[in-house]
């Protein structure tokens, strides 16, 4: 329960919706109970009166009115309950999603590695969705069942005291012990389910994305066999889950008539009149309507708890680099000095940067070359404050970068890397990431500079064209130029380029470099640090340094 506590607290702003839902749920269950008890008593009493020939004296208006009232009331109450609990849940889930975004944002990329981002994030989304069981299927049914048990106990204690222990005993067995057992066995099964589902997804992705390779080498059948194996394991895990649910349902299905019979038998043995004995039986029947949701809740509790556990773990993860207590003011000069910088990625033992020193004066262009894995990109990640260095200093205009707020620090740099990541939204919104209030003129100016204006103009909706996965796809070269336009728009003192022309053909690469030259020349103080192994780019640099095993060699 400890894991779920923070999420109950998070429900606080919508507590009235939750309370309303729980109250309506309790009233729904109580009207069901009333309906059952009253009908049982009514027809038996009517039977007794009829036999005695005293039918005319029987107050059937009270009883039949009550039966109709309970029946109609229950329908209306249930509708209200469902609206209220769902309203509460979706309000809370909307807030939870944003909360996840808030806690995840500072963790990228150090704790949310790009390589595993997709899997991890879909897991996070599923975890958020799994929490709806907490509000819908856990809290509400428990409150409703408790209310019903309380009222049933009072009724039984007054009218058929001997039936009380029997009925409540069977009920507690089903409403408390059975859900706990279900939770206990459900946890392991749930885990097996999640693991085998993930394995199946991995093999399915391999089959789809690797189909060209698999087929060419004649390995497609082998991959199909691998997929079938894990898919069968998954189906088996689901089968075991079904068995568990089945045992629970069968026990419950039998327990309610058992309580019915026990109620009548015990009440009769206790000397209750026939109508009251019938009422005791029907109360037991009505009470059991509330037990089934509890068992279901028990079955999913494990899943909800482990989802909560993962989200909690994410929430307490500290970002790699945090804002300083009292941020320094932004320096006026743009000279960048790196002194003896070293960096080790979390979870690895090898130093990615090992005593790197470098100075980049205003207006200077420096290129860094080196083999893949030599630490070139790590330098950029350290500058951007994505990872915390182990040692060494980075200063800008004499102010340590670590003394600046993260926002100011990242405003000093405009980054174009080999991914040139674009969001799935309009061209305009993608560009405005760099400058939220950029005017149309500024946008077109940046596009012109980046040699991207022509193809954007040719797009069906111009700047309003949706790009990215959910919209029109742009080619690698076009994406790179849009990313460059975005970097220009940011208008930062230092431009960081990480393999910006990787995979582009020579013509596109040449266009890219002309754009770069033009922009750099618009302010002579601007400097540029580029990481590349392309010869064409190196000719644009004033100095070329080589990175090897985390060290810079001039």
């Amino acid at each position: 329960m400890k894991d779920l506590w923070p999420f109950l607290k998070m429900a606080h702003p919508d507590r009235w919706w939750l309370r309303l839902g729980a109250a309506l749920a309790a009233l729904t269950v109580l009207s069901g109970l009333g309906l059952m008890a009253l009908s049982g008593w009514f027809i038996t009493a009517a039977g007794v009166a009829g036999l005695a020939g005293a039918g005319a004296a029987f107050n059937f208006f009270f009883a039949s009115g009550g039966v109709r009232g309970f029946a109609m009331g229950r329908t209306a109450l249930r509708y209200g309950e469902r609206i209220a609990t769902h309203e509460a849940t979706f309000r809370i889930l909307a807030r939870l999603r944003l909360w996840v975004f808030d806690i995840a944002a500072p963790l990228a990329p150090a704790h949310i590695s790009r390589l595993r981002a997709g899997d991890m994030l879909s897991r996070v989304m599923q975890d958020v969705d799994a929490l709806d069981t907490l509000y819908l299927r856990l809290i509400t049914p428990v409150i409703a069942a408790s209310a019903a048990a309380l009222v049933a106990s009072i009724l039984l204690a007054v009218f058929a005291p001997l039936a009380l222990p029997g009925v409540i005993g069977v009920f507690l067995l089903c409403a408390v012990i059975l859900p706990r057992l279900a939770a206990h066995f459900g946890r392991d099964l749930g885990e097996a389910n999640v693991t085998s589902a993930a394995a199946t997804r991995a093999e399915a992705q391999d089959l789809v994305a690797g189909l060209a390779e698999l087929k060419a080498y004649g390995a497609a059948e082998r991959q199909l066999a691998r997929l079938t194996t894990v898919s069968d394991q998954w189906i088996n895990a689901q089968r075991r889950m079904a068995h568990l649910g089945l045992i629970n349902a069968a026990l419950l299905g039998f327990a309610s008539p058992l309580a019915f019979c026990a109620g009548i038998a015990l009440a009769t043995l206790g000397g209750a009149s026939a109508p009251l004995a019938a009422m005791a039986g029907f109360i037991a029947f009505g009470l059991f309507e509330t037990a089934a949701p509890l068992v279901l809740a028990g079955e999913v509790l494990g899943k909800t708890q482990s989802a909560a556990k993962r989200l909690n773990a994410l929430a307490i993860t500290a970002p790699a680099v945090e804002d300083p207590q009292r941020p320094a003011s932004v320096p006026a000069h743009w000279d960048l000095d790196i002194e003896n910088l070293s960096l080790t990625y979390p979870g690895t033992s090898l130093r990615a940067l090992n005593g790197v020193s470098l100075s980049l004066k205003e207006g200077e262009r420096v290129a860094i070359i080196g083999e893949s894995g030599s630490g070139k990109s790590s330098l950029i990640k350290a500058l951007m404050g994505f990872y915390a260095p182990e040692g060494g200093t980075m200063t800008l205009g004499g102010t340590p970068l670590s003394a600046l707020s993260l926002t100011d620090r990242r405003d000093r740099f405009a980054l174009v890397d080999q991914r040139a990541e674009l969001l799935s939204t309009t061209v305009r919104a993608n560009l405005r990431l760099a400058k939220a209030d950029a005017s149309e003129d500024e946008l077109w100016q940046a596009l012109e500079l980046a040699r991207a204006a022509d193809f954007v103009r040719a797009m069906p909706d111009g700047l309003a064209t949706w790009i990215g996965e959910q919209g029109r796809l742009v080619s690698g070269g076009q994406g790179r130029r849009l990313a460059l336009a975005r970097a220009f728009l940011k208008d930062a003192p230092i431009l960081l380029l990480d393999e910006p022309t990787e995979g582009l053909d020579p013509q596109t690469e040449a266009d890219f470099m002309i754009a770069l030259d033009q922009w750099l020349s618009t302010d002579p103080r601007r400097s540029c640090l580029m990481i590349t192994h392309r010869k064409a780019l190196l000719t644009r640099a004033q100095r070329v340094l080589t990175m090897k095993d985390g060290r810079l060699i001039e």
Binding site: S39, F42, T44, A46, G47, A49, G50, G53, G55, S64, A71, M72, T75, A76, Y79, R82, R91, A94, D102, A105, P106, L115, R116, L121, A202, L207, V208, A209, L211, A212, E213, K215, A216, Y217, G218, A219, R222, L224, S231, L246, A249, F254, C261, I264, T268, A278, G281, L350, E371, S372, G373, M384, L406, T407, R410, S424, A434, S475, E502, P506
Partner: protein, 573 residues
């Protein structure tokens, strides 16, 4: 351009979806029928329970012993619980078998249709069709389908004893029955419309959230996370409002159902009560001796159960829509395809020695009308290394894909060892694409592609040539290192070297490499090319490239810019 036949990208019709789902049913048809049978029988057992329980109540007021009736009631309740459990379980088992079968068949179909099909459909969408798409069939085959006969059968099973007890009570239930589906259909239709209208909006909102979470690094680089949050908050609010709109209608439909059920139960109760009191003029409705408590209690216990199958149906109402949506996602995989892919070769071709190749006026037009190649002719001598040279977009990749049947051969002839190529060289050629895939498995699995027959010597030799040995010592588990999740910590260059080792290790006489050195720096590239040349002795090698170093190493260079005029569109891959 040739007149294009119906492509499988068009949305399937309702009838096609229906036929597909009927076809899928077969894997679990008997179980589904068993479930329905048990489902009807459990209501018969319930009628028995109701009769015995009512008898027990009657015994109480007439002073007889209630124990035998109570014990029988309990026994029948036990039987019913068993039948009920069997019904549910049979349905679930049917769904499990159908899901396993559909996933297997979909995967087989995907393999048969090949990479050109996979390329046209987003790879994420295809793997989610195999996962979520198949999972969404669960409710329909497990609950909805077995329930349909129960909806018809259970009321009949219950009505017979009710009519035998009292034709008036029977009539009350009978009349209320057809009214319910009518009202539910009315509400259901508007709910379905609402949910359909919102569906793509909902997807877009969910997709947007995923997209922004995935792009957090870029958002941070631009200090834009806080600004994106506002948009997401708006989206989440929208999502909630639209979901609630759909749910309100769905809840309304079940409230209407419950209302009518409650109404007819209350009517039955009042009728029974009045009859018992002797206040009802039509006591004759119950036959001979008039209303007794045994009859009355029986009617009252049975009345709510009478509506149970319909209530279960309304809870399963969305299962069908879900399954239909999933079926239309899976449909392209199951659709009969026009022979766009030259699937299994008519004459299985095995290359024992390095082949010679001849392209003669070859053209390729993709099914979406994109032209990949136009009028291409060149010769490749057996055992040579040939560089296909030119800027991106001239069709180098298409030329390689043609040999494997991954691109359509629309015009011209390809000859292999002087024989016209009828099928494809799938399974006969080593092929490395521009973005090679790293599979979930060990590094060794990735080189052998799960073939346990690859010997260690070949593996080491291939790993050495491809440069895998350069970084292997840094990996703690060596060849046993687990890869997947697109590489788990390996750089793009390292991944490419593993794919190269794969191409070298498997003893194929024809080797097709698409931009093999794109991620390598010039030193690594030089070392790689120096090692590659001797390793390729006795094989015919085609390399698509725009690297000068590769061009210099090759035995011959086919300059695509000179051979064919470049297509107007930029082509990926």
């Amino acid at each position: 351009m040739t007149a294009s036949p119906k492509t499988q990208d068009q949305a399937p019709t309702k009838a096609e979806i229906k036929a597909l789902m009927r076809d899928w049913t077969r894997a679990g048809a008997n179980l589904s029928r068993l479930g329905s049978l048990l489902g009807i029988l459990q209501y018969a057992a319930f009628a028995g329970f109701a009769a015995c329980a009512a008898q027990a109540l009657n015994a109480l007021i007439t002073g007889q012993s209630p124990w035998i009736a109570l014990a029988s009631a309990l026994g029948l309740a036990l039987l019913r619980a068993g039948l009920q459990a069997g019904e549910v379980r049979a349905g679930q088992e049917a769904a499990l078998r159908i899901k396993a079968d559909v996933r297997q068949r979909a995967a087989k179909a995907l393999i048969a249709k090949g990479p050109s099909f996979a390329e046209r459909h987003d790879s994420g969408a295809l793997s989610s069709a195999l996962m979520e798409g198949v999972e969404k069939l669960d409710g329909y085959f497990g609950r909805y389908k077995p329930l349909m006969p129960v909806i018809m059968g259970a009321p009949i099973v219950l009505l017979i004893p009710v009519f035998a007890t009292s034709w008036i009570a029977g009539l009350v239930l009978l009349i209320s029955l057809p009214l319910l589906p009518l009202f539910m259909a009315l509400v259901g239709i508007s709910a379905a419309k609402a949910s359909k209208d919102q569906m793509h909006v909902l997807q877009r909102l969910a997709g947007r959230f995923q997209d922004r979470l995935g792009a957090l690094e870029t958002l941070n680089a631009f200090n834009a996370a806080a600004r994106e949050r506002e948009g997401l908050a708006q989206g989440a609010e929208d999502f909630r409002l639209r979901t609630m709109k759909v749910l309100r209608l769905a809840f309304l439909s079940s409230a209407i159902l419950e209302f009518f059920a409650a109404l007819s139960v209350a009517a039955t109760a009042v009728y029974v009560g009045f009859s018992l009191l002797g206040e009802w003029p039509l006591a004759a409705g119950t036959g001979g001796e008039g209303m007794t408590l045994a009859k009355g209690a029986f009617l009252l216990i049975i009345a709510p159960e009478f509506f149970m199958p319909l209530r279960r149906f309304s809870a399963a109402y969305h299962d069908r829509a879900d399954a239909e949506a999933a079926a239309s996602v899976l449909y392209p995989l199951f659709a009969q395809d026009e022979a766009e892919e030259r699937g299994a070769p008519h004459t299985p071709l095995t290359l024992h020695t390095a082949p010679s190749l001849r392209f003669h006026s070859v053209g390729s037009v993709y099914s979406d009308g994109r032209r990949g190649l136009d009028n291409l002719s060149f010769d490749v001598p057996a055992g040579s290394i040939t560089a296909l040279w030119g800027p991106s977009g001239v069709g180098k990749s298409t030329a390689l894909k043609l040999l494997l049947g991954y691109a359509p051969l629309s015009e011209g002839v390809i000859e292999i060892d002087g024989q016209r190529l009828n099928g494809t060289l799938v399974g006969q050629a080593a092929w490395m694409g521009q973005r090679p895939r790293l599979f979930h498995g060990s590094l060794e699995d990735n080189i052998a592609l799960f073939d346990p027959g690859l010997n260690a010597q070949r593996r080491d030799e291939a790993a050495r040539i491809a440069g895998v040995m350069d970084f292997l010592p840094q990996l703690e588990a060596g060849f046993e290192t687990a890869l997947g999740e697109q590489g788990s910590g390996l750089s793009g260059g390292q991944g490419q070297r593993i794919a190269l080792a794969r191409a070298i290790a498997l003893d194929k006489k024809l080797v097709l490499l698409d931009e093999p050195t794109a991620h390598l720096d010039s030193d690594s590239e030089a070392r790689f090319l120096a090692a590659l040349k001797p390793a390729m002795a006795g094989r015919t090698v085609l390399i698509a490239t725009h690297s000068q170093a590769v061009r210099e190493m090759a035995d011959q260079v086919i300059d695509f810019t000179a051979l064919t005029h470049a297509p107007s569109r930029e082509i990926h891959g």
